[in-house]
Amino acid sequence: MYVKVRVDEKKCVGCKLCIFACPDPNVLTYTENKKVSADENRCKGCGLCVSSCPKGALIIS
């Protein structure tokens, strides 16, 4: 079973706490419209970003 992270762009406020929590580089990137976007191919599905997000904008599924 593969688990990947998804970002809800409506809830994301661009605080970047998930970027500081992710152990894998280049998975979560900060885009030009001040939101976070996820590269699902590199994600290992640990869930650290989900536990660090204060707005609940990230889902592991």
């Binding site: 970047k16 929590a21 989900v50």
Partner: protein, 281 residues
């Protein structure tokens, strides 16, 4: 590393992998990047093989982002979990036999000073707790006694991770591990206190749960190692695979440890304090 060295000539540009081209266009070189800019630049050539939720990988990522001049930095590592991540960062990297890292770094620092007298080259040792506290303890302590100008950074996961969970000198007393079923019998080694009395001009103890502090201490350690003397930073990076907790709890475990026994601490000699006040902006 200079812009000229890593930029490919036009004839060979088609042959290089996309990852490498990305690194030239979006890498951390040639512009001032700090830990606050994480996520806006490419930091690594390829994926690293660490476990999901690995604290060591997070620690290495934060250290690599905090380097003040990545193009003039040489990282020295030793076998263990720490070198899986390091060997794939976009930095000059040298691996050594287990435990020899500080001796090799001393020689490299002296050689780089002769080869590039007009440039400042930083030599940074990034190793796990086995490399510093157990097998390489004598060479590490002697490099501090000699006053070699290198910074030593320990990513402390309190276990030998990639060989299956043996107890290390930095494991906590009573901790039951895969290959220590009766629990560890003696207390955690006080390497942080030893750094203070062994000649380090700067020593700091942080956890991965506070990335801003990791960035600040690593920058201070590297600046002081350029002019004043040896420096030491100890980062707590919990291991979900061998310490047996869910991978999404790494930061919570680190936060609990910060309250309990791994509190933020910083030791500086008076001359290091003077140097920082006069030179660090």
């Amino acid at each position: 590393m200079s812009n000229r060295i890593i930029t490919p000539v036009a004839e060979f540009e088609d042959l290089l992998p996309d990852d490498y081209k990305d690194l030239i266009n979006n890498g951390p070189f040639f512009e001032k990047k700090s830990i606050e800019d994480l996520g806006s630049f490419k930091e690594i050539i390829d994926d690293h093989p660490h476990c999901a939720g690995c604290g060591v990988a997070l620690g290495i990522r934060l250290v690599a982002a905090a380097l003040p001049s990545p193009e003039d930095t040489l990282i020295v590592g030793t076998p263990g979990c720490s070198f899986f991540g390091l060997s794939q960062t976009a930095l000059n990297y040298s691996t050594t036999a287990f435990g020899n890292q500080n001796a090799v770094a001393s020689g490299l620092k002296r050689m780089l000073k002769i080869r590039y007298p007009e440039r400042t080259k930083d030599v940074v040792v990034v190793v796990g707790d086995g490399g510093i506290a157990d097998i390489g303890l004598d060479l590490t302590l002697h490099s501090w006694f000699r006053g070699e100008k290198i910074s030593t950074i320990m990513v402390d996961n309190e276990v030998y991770g990639n060989t299956g969970g043996q107890e290390s000198g930095m494991s906590r007393q009573g901790k039951v591990l895969n290959m220590a079923p009766n629990g560890k019998l003696f207390p955690k080694l006080p390497i942080f206190d030893m750094a203070k009395i062994s000649g380090c001009v700067y020593a700091a103890r942080v956890t991965v749960a506070s990335p801003a502090k990791v960035g600040m201490t690593v920058r201070k350690a590297i600046f002081l190692a350029r002019e004043v003397g040896p420096t030491y930073v100890q980062i707590y990076t919990p291991c979900p695979t061998n310490l047996k907790f869910p991978p999404n709890q790494t930061l919570n475990i680190a936060k609990e440890a910060e309250k309990d026994y791994y509190s933020y601490e910083e030791l500086m000699t008076p001359e290091a304090k003077d140097y920082l006040e006069n030179n660090l902006k």
